[in-house]
Symmetry: C2
Subunit: 280 residues, 2 copies
């Protein structure tokens, strides 16, 4: 397994691989691998000649008061896991190589970046789209893998790729959960035992509304109130948002549209912000 730090080297290597007719799968990550990341890599391994995993804690997607500094960085552990899966190249650039002094260019997917997580994290998606666009240009993949855990992120990135005519296939894979249902996240390690218990309420709330929808309930206000009640019943939990939106526009809807509905929530348990979602 190769470890590449330099942007220029990575770009040259990707160019060589493409010239040699190799297909490339990219899994963009911020490291601190859990089973969610590994599921993306396993699928990537099957889908292309060369499996490239990028590992970069992207400063541009963190707000000023967010956890950029303390975000877990576990390169040695990540390398070991990636090696076991058969990753060919780890690309772990340095901040100053990705955003050199005088850096000025940002890409924005308008309107879709403003709601849901965009309300409490107003510059987050601009940071995500910009770094992913850079990674696509550097690594020139045929296919890139993302988790549905970050549903808004994935839908925004797919829209960016479509709008900008980028020649890459965007693949979204299901959320991977702990045995009790908590969505895997690199931030779960921040939780103390009580918060970890309360964190389960996100999945519980989603399961309850899923079963209500199966029974015929389609009023979004009713469904959101049900979720609100479940979350607020937990001592350490504080709702950031609970939303039911169209998957095309990410705008709120009033009635469930089967096949095009995203039910998403963000909840603070203690100081840790967790997100989860289901598609209906």
């Amino acid at each position: 397994m190769e470890l590449i730090h330099s942007v220029e080297k990575m770009q040259t290597r990707a160019h060589e691989l493409k010239r040699a007719g190799k297909s490339i799968a990219l899994v963009p990550t911020m490291g601190a691998f859990h089973e969610g990341h590994l599921s993306l890599m396993r699928e990537g391994r099957k889908s292309a000649d060369v499996l490239l995993v990028s590992l970069f804690v992207n400063p541009a997607q963190f707000g000023q008061d967010e956890d950029f500094e303390r975000y877990p960085r576990t390169l040695e552990h990540d390398r070991q896991l990636a090696k076991e899966i058969g990753v060919d190249i780890i690309f772990a650039p340095h901040d100053e190589d990705m955003y050199p002094s005088g850096y000025k260019t940002y890409v924005t997917v308008e309107s879709m970046s403003r709601n849901l997580c965009g309300i409490s994290r107003p510059t987050h998606f601009r940071g995500v789209t910009t770094i992913v666009l850079k990674l696509l240009n550097i690594a020139q993949p045929d296919v890139a893998f993302f988790g549905w855990k970050d549903a808004q992120q994935f839908l925004i990135l797919k829209k960016m790729v479509e709008d900008l005519n980028l020649p890459v296939k965007m693949a979204g894979l299901p959320i991977v959960r702990e045995p009790d249902g908590l969505a895997m996240s690199s931030r779960n390690r921040y939780l103390n035992p009580e918060e970890r218990k309360d964190a389960l309420s996100l999945y519980k709330a989603l399961q309850v509304v899923e079963s209500l929808i199966e029974k015929g309930e389609d009023n979004c206000e009713t469904l959101k109130n049900k979720m609100k009640k479940i979350i607020t019943g937990e001592p350490t939990a504080r709702i950031d948002y609970i939303e039911i939106v169209s998957m095309t526009t990410l705008e709120p809807i009033t009635r469930i549209e089967k096949g095009n509905t995203l039910i998403a929530l963000a909840v603070y348990t203690g100081a840790t912000r967790l997100i989860d979602n289901i598609r209906v």
Copy 2:
């Protein structure tokens, strides 16, 4: 010479050419060809296996009160000129194929897009960077050609390509002028005889300050005042801006920095806005 209208067909064709090991030169234009455009094509012809000229009057770079509707569209004439030069492919997409309903993604080169032409045209450069990024993704050129006539545009696009790690070489070619010195522009055809005469004042002003600088004058305020005086002497001319800026940041400077200075101006002659510049 091929004429391609469909984005999908163009992208497939470019992909085939790249796979066959051919290099591609792109000349992005809005049509209404003059000698400036032709000089870019002649240079493009020499620099790659395949010469591709895009021809698209980009709505996203026109303001609401600007001349999008009446911008000259002369496809048949342009095709004839391109054919004579040996262009291989003309890519002339339709508006709804480039910006389909629900289009949302824009790229911005911050700060460099705000001054000079960005003051009177606040969304212009966002439109330019977005369309050029799309064209680069569709046509996958090895090299792209631009004229120094639009100096701010070229410097912003070079910055975008560098910041986003785009694998393309950006080439800038000198301004082509009419025998009397007027910079060639598709908008010169809007000028009536009196305005055409007054339009010469842009070049005259630039020549005067160039010779003052050669004689040792390096105070930007003095030089700008000299230019102002020349322009305001013409009956139909009205100054939009006269600026002396750093080529790296496009920020105003107070003393000429040899090798890194752009002297640029925009002037209305009647209703037509003209631009010109020199580098020192």
